[in-house]
Symmetry: C2
Subunit: 217 residues, 2 copies
DNA sequence: AAAGAATGCGACTAATTATTCGCGTTTGTC
DNA sequence: GACAAACGCGAATAATTAGTCGCATTCTTT
């Protein structure tokens, strides 16, 4: 278990080599698929390298042809998810800010729907997201993304109400993110109808959360 | 690492022996204190038995005089926290149900304040709670408590509005718990003033969440 | 088809860490 | 103060797993 990379893990998360031959790029997919399936099966615990290799019909050695360490595999799976949040929120800051209560509600709704879509589209990798949160090595990386997302939520709030103090915006940003995340994780574990009901619940909560701080009208 | 107890862990969580001599009951406290301090220091990862023993000025062997395994130590720390929730919610079900919108708001507020107090009083063991959630062996035990708490929140909702369907009550119960938990964890990491502001935020969200389902008036 | 590069293999290494066990020490009891 | 029970110790055990390395196989190119 040569394991003091943990500190430098961040540097070491890039793929060790680009696949050159066609067979190997399929192998990368097999590895990622195996890791995803196992993470889903096992819930909390991240799968072992041996388990991933076996499931992918490979040997451990082959894993390390393409990934510098186990963490990199999980992170690769989560990468699309992690990066789509900033994109989506940033997009909703580019439009003209609302001028009355009704337009404001519309804006909340849009942000709300866009973020919800991210969850729905990535439903199958929620177990990976949860595993990452529970992993000491990966947690800091997720925290970085979270910081970014919170900052963007805060920016969105100030876009909607430029008079809003930084401190308040950032507090509300954290809560929007965490409430949304917690509720949607619950929702995705239920059937689609319940998910939709929970979405309505979250929307009401978001509105209740931010409305007092956005004295339009 | 004799570690296939995991399955039978549940049986094995009781203290191995009651301390008979006075010196040893102090030792149990020292162990618990050490585990608490280390968990707080290390954040996510649960401390090793060796680290706990060292910090408590003991040897590993002595740990196992009083605890059947490492998990039992953390669980012992969390036990008061885990059990106070059911107590507190159950107490709020015993009073007469509200008859109008204003009394209802009062009831929400009371439940809200009572649960908030649990967080404030146990602020220093939040890292333990988080560590437990991230630990594959302990998670299931916390989940059991969570089930219980959700059921009680649901029962409270039906106490307030007896006409409320089971399914809705349980959905709202989950959300009350998760939203409260997520926000309060954030709050406890901030200063007291911010905690109070977040409490107001949560109260508004709770009200927004449940009000549509409680057609009093 | 032969050379050389890329890929694949899996036994092995090594780090980590939970738990045990036999023995020495302290404490309580008479 | 002597005896047994309780307590304390920590080296040894053993389970688990991440990551390596030299050799084997397959592919690409000419």
């Amino acid at each position: 278990m040569k394991r003091n990379l943990s500190r430098e893990t961040r540097m070491a998360l890039e793929p060790r080599k680009q696949p050159r031959q066609e067979r190997s790029s399929k192998v990368v997919d097999r590895i990622l698929d195996a890791a995803l399936i196992l993470t889903r099966e096992q819930g909390t615990k991240t799968p072992t390298t041996l388990a991933i290799a076996r499931r992918a019909g490979l040997s451990v050695g082959s894993l390390y042809q393409y990934f510098p360490n186990k963490e990199a595999i999980l992170l690769d799976l989560a990468r699309r998810w992690l990066s789509s949040f900033p994109e989506v929120i940033a997009r909703r800051i580019k439009v003209a800010p609302p001028t009355n209560r009704d337009e404001f509600r519309q804006e909340v709704r849009k942000l709300f729907i866009d973020t919800s879509r991210i969850y729905l589209e990535n439903a199958n990798l929620m177990p990976v997201i949860e595993a990452i949160s529970g992993n000491a090595d990966l947690r800091p990386i997720q925290d970085e993304y979270d910081e970014q997302i919170i900052a963007l939520y805060a920016a969105w709030l100030q876009h909607v109400n430029p008079a809003l103090e930084d401190k308040i915006a950032s507090r509300l940003g954290v809560l929007m993110m965490d409430v949304g995340h917690a509720c949607r994780l619950v929702g995705l574990k239920r059937d689609r109808k319940t998910y939709d009901l929970i979405e309505d619940d979250v929307e009401r909560m978001w509105l209740a959360l931010v409305t007092p701080y956005l004295d339009l009208d």
